[in-house]
């Protein structure tokens, strides 16, 4: 009724190829953006920022990064945790080495450094594929965590091996360190998240994205039609690494403030982000957000419902939480193997015909 193309005339190619061709979708998108930038910062407190919004935004960036690699280019990676650690430690070294430079630049540089490291570990992808590549990236995960634990230069020789983010400001407002206001941390991450999503969206529907998808769907055919697998695969690794590095830097500097590599960036982080991508939907930017929301918000929601709402013992709630989240993952993947993004797509198709489907 209200969700259809009819009557929404496009008179230029630019209009024709926009991300949200349906007016209702566009409005909804602008509404979400306005709410996120202009409403949420005024109503949130410490709890909402630290337990809900920051993890959601940061994991979304990581999921977008991994989705480019796994979902768009078809290269399986289990090294996300290690690459996030590269972003975090790069950011830490930059923050402590060049305290006069803005944190914004540090985080982007940290993304760049991670892109380089990711590219390096992407080199085996030129010779090996599938499960074998997954194992090779797993080696990256273990190597990087081991290195950050072992080489004390990375944590400035501190006795505990922990890295702690010093206080930094953007335009006079603290964004890292203990004195950060919740809205500042939220807006800082939101800006990065929106910029990354826009960038990723536009990359994936341009030539680069089409090359990645060609490689994903059939690499030999792609090579025959003129896609250079070396460039396509390595660029996917580098760009994916850039996003993951930014996520790692934000995770350390803004969200946690102090991290320990084995605990914060262990193998379970790699799996968590991979699950986000799979549950959200491979090859979809919206899916990255949906997957991150599902795996970040659901445990918090369950905890608050079971412990806060129903007053159950915390251990019982924690165990049930694992079971419910696990069960839902299985259920979702059986009902819709292509993830939450596919559910959303189907819903949109249905909505187009509603209320007269015949």
């Amino acid at each position: 009724m209200f969700y259809r193309e009819a009557g929404d005339f496009k008179t230029s190619y630019k209009d024709d190829s926009q991300t949200f061709p349906i007016k209702f979708d566009r409005m909804r998108y602008y509404l979400v953006l306005i709410a996120a930038f202009a409403v949420v910062p005024f109503v949130i407190n410490d709890y909402w920022v630290n337990a809900v919004f920051l993890p959601f935004l940061i994991y979304s960036i990581a999921a977008i990064g991994l989705n480019i690699l796994v979902g768009y280019c078809g290269q399986v990676s289990l090294g996300t945790g290690g690459f996030m650690a590269v972003g975090a430690y790069a950011c830490y070294k930059l923050m402590t080495g060049f305290p006069e430079v803005s944190i914004l630049i540090h985080i982007i540089l940290a993304g760049g450094i991670t892109a380089g490291v990711c590219l390096l570990f992407g080199l085996p992808s030129l010779r090996i594929k599938g499960f074998y590549l997954a194992v090779a990236t797993l080696a990256a995960q273990f190597f990087l965590v081991w290195m950050f634990n072992r080489v004390s230069w990375f944590y400035n020789y501190s006795a505990s091996g922990q890295i702690t983010a010093p206080e930094t400001t953007v335009m006079g407002v603290a964004v890292t360190g203990p004195a950060t206001e919740p809205w500042a941390a939220y807006l800082f991450c939101l800006v990065f998240c929106v910029a990354c999503a826009l960038l990723a969206r536009n990359l994936t529907r341009g030539m680069a994205g089409r090359k990645w998808m060609a490689i994903r769907d059939m690499d030999i055919a792609a090579e025959i039609i003129g896609v250079n697998p070396l460039k396509a695969k390595l660029s996917a690794f580098a760009i994916s690494g850039f996003f993951v590095g930014i996520a790692g830097a934000l995770f350390f500097a803004v969200y946690l403030g102090a991290v320990e590599v084995g605990e914060a960036f262990g193998i379970q982080k790699s799996f968590l982000v991979l699950f986000m991508v799979i549950i959200g939907g491979l090859g979809s930017i919206f899916g990255s957000f949906a997957g991150a929301a599902f795996l970040v918000l659901l445990p918090v929601l369950l905890k608050n419902t079971l412990v806060g709402g129903l007053g159950w013992p915390t251990d019982l709630a924690a165990h049930l939480e694992f079971m419910i989240v696990g069960g839902l993952i299985v259920l979702f993947l059986i009902a819709e193997p292509h993830g939450l993004a596919q559910l959303w797509r189907v819903a949109k198709e249905k909505l187009r015909l509603w209320p007269f489907p015949h």
């Binding site: 709890y47 505990s160 203990p178 102090a258």
Partner: protein, 427 residues
């Protein structure tokens, strides 16, 4: 879908209920995950002591204790979530029982003005109250522990351990790395060789480390382990027939859970402690009567009297004593976190106090002051008796090497102060 979740979560938070004007104590426990075996008894002891005060005495100074539990799973992200969820309504003190979460919370709690008590763990240099206003780690810290172990080895070798080899098997994290600096200093001072053997989280795989110990045969092994790592290490030590009396664990590696799995051959394993063991104290009769028999025990109620239960109870007792001190100083029973901090800073544990509480000779005597947030660094050595199934104290409380440790504390805390632009207090 996102919006729906937010709405539902909001409703759930609202439904969590209004807080009452009580003394709010948060227990950030972990009853799940690889460290649960150690987290459960500590949390049970912590909660049962406050339950006892509520049931027997009607709270502390007439104010009931409102105990809020939050499950962290020993995970820093969940720990932060717990802290943010519970810090409102004047939470008096946090006892995170995790060095990783402690590092997270030190800046946050300092900014929010909530005291942190990291009893025998956390950041050692927080002992320097001039720099760390809101953090306390009395009665002993990791560097004290490292020194206790070395002193014990010294005493056994008639004061001479030069040329001997001591291996440190440690959890490869902030926690396990803490003692290294002290041990390095001590090795310079006493002339022993130090071998470092890191074990990665969670510590189920230690074959290569123990193979190295078997090959090199160090004279002593010191362990900094937690959770499942302890059990595995002690089992491996038994497997290579390492002499157990030369194997000393830090206080977090000395509970019944850690040694029982290894059977009789774990007999003789030593562990440090900063409080007394067993259940031969008058207070246990009260706990039995008011808490366990009344069906109000935390958890399954089967941990009473174990090492970590005692430690949790000791932590709760120190918190309760700090509350009493704060109530005396400020002349009000409903104290705020800032008053709680004053209470902790002026805490003085004496033998008379402990005896009056039904815990005679339970811990060392110590005083906290503005400069010294870490007590006097007394500890003792306990030994596992497999036949009786209990740890027994084999030494008196003795002080750590203050000369070495004070210098290290001053150095590390001053570096922290310089990094974070903190002005020295207590001038």
């Amino acid at each position: 879908m996102k919006m729906k979740l937010f709405g539902a979560a909001m409703a759930a938070v609202m439904a969590a209920g209004p807080a009452l004007a009580d003394l709010k104590i948060v227990d950030t426990s972990y009853r799940t995950g690889p460290y649960a075996a150690n987290g459960i008894p500590f949390s049970d002891g912590y909660q049962d002591y406050f339950t006892l005060l509520n049931e027997r005495d009607g709270g502390i100074g007439g104010e009931m204790v409102n105990l809020v539990e939050c499950e962290t799973g020993y995970n820093t992200e969940k720990g932060v979530e717990c802290y943010e969820a519970t810090k409102g309504d004047d939470s008096l003190v946090y006892q995170p029982l995790s060095t990783g979460i402690t590092y997270q919370l030190i800046p946050k709690a300092t900014a929010d003005g909530i005291p942190l008590h990291t009893m025998g763990y956390g950041r050692t240099s927080a002992k320097n109250g001039k720099v760390f206003e809101w953090v306390f780690n009395y009665p002993a810290n990791y560097w004290d522990g490292a020194s206790h172990a070395i002193t014990h080895i010294l005493n056994e070798n008639n004061g001479d351990i030069s040329g001997k080899t001591i291996a440190l098997v440690y959890h490869n994290s902030a926690y396990g790395k803490e003692p290294i600096r002290t041990l390095e200093e001590l090795s310079k001072k006493h002339g022993f060789n130090l071998t470092l053997l890191p074990v990665d989280h969670p510590g189920q795989e230690q074959k290569s480390q123990w193979l190295q110990i078997r090959r090199e045969q160090p004279d002593n092994v010191i362990m900094w382990g937690w959770g499942v790592m302890n059990q595995v290490a002690i089992q491996e030590a038994v497997n290579i027939r390492y002499p157990m009396e030369n194997f000393i664990g830090i206080w977090w590696s000395g509970s019944e859970n850690d040694v029982k799995a290894a059977g009789d051959r774990a007999n003789g394993y030593k562990a440090l402690t900063f409080h007394n063991l067993g259940s031969d104290y008058p207070i246990y009769a009260d706990i039995q009567k008011y808490v366990v028999d009344a069906g109000k025990a935390a958890g399954a109620g089967d941990q009473v009297g174990t090492v970590l239960y005692n430690r949790g109870m000791y932590a709760a007792m120190l918190a309760a004593e700090a509350i009493k001190t704060a109530q005396e100083i400020h002349g009000t029973s409903a104290i705020t976190p800032a008053m709680m901090r004053d209470g902790m800073e002026n805490l003085s544990m004496t033998e008379e106090k402990m005896a009056a509480l039904g815990l005679p000779n339970f811990g060392p005597e110590f005083d906290v002051s503005c400069e010294n947030h870490g007590g006097n660094g007394f500890g003792a050595v306990s030994q596992w008796n497999a036949e009786a199934g209990e740890f027994v104290l084999i030494t008196d409380y003795y002080q750590s090497d203050q000369e070495v440790i004070q210098a290290l504390v001053a150095e590390d805390s001053q570096a922290f102060a310089a990094e974070n632009g903190i002005e020295m207090r207590c001038q």
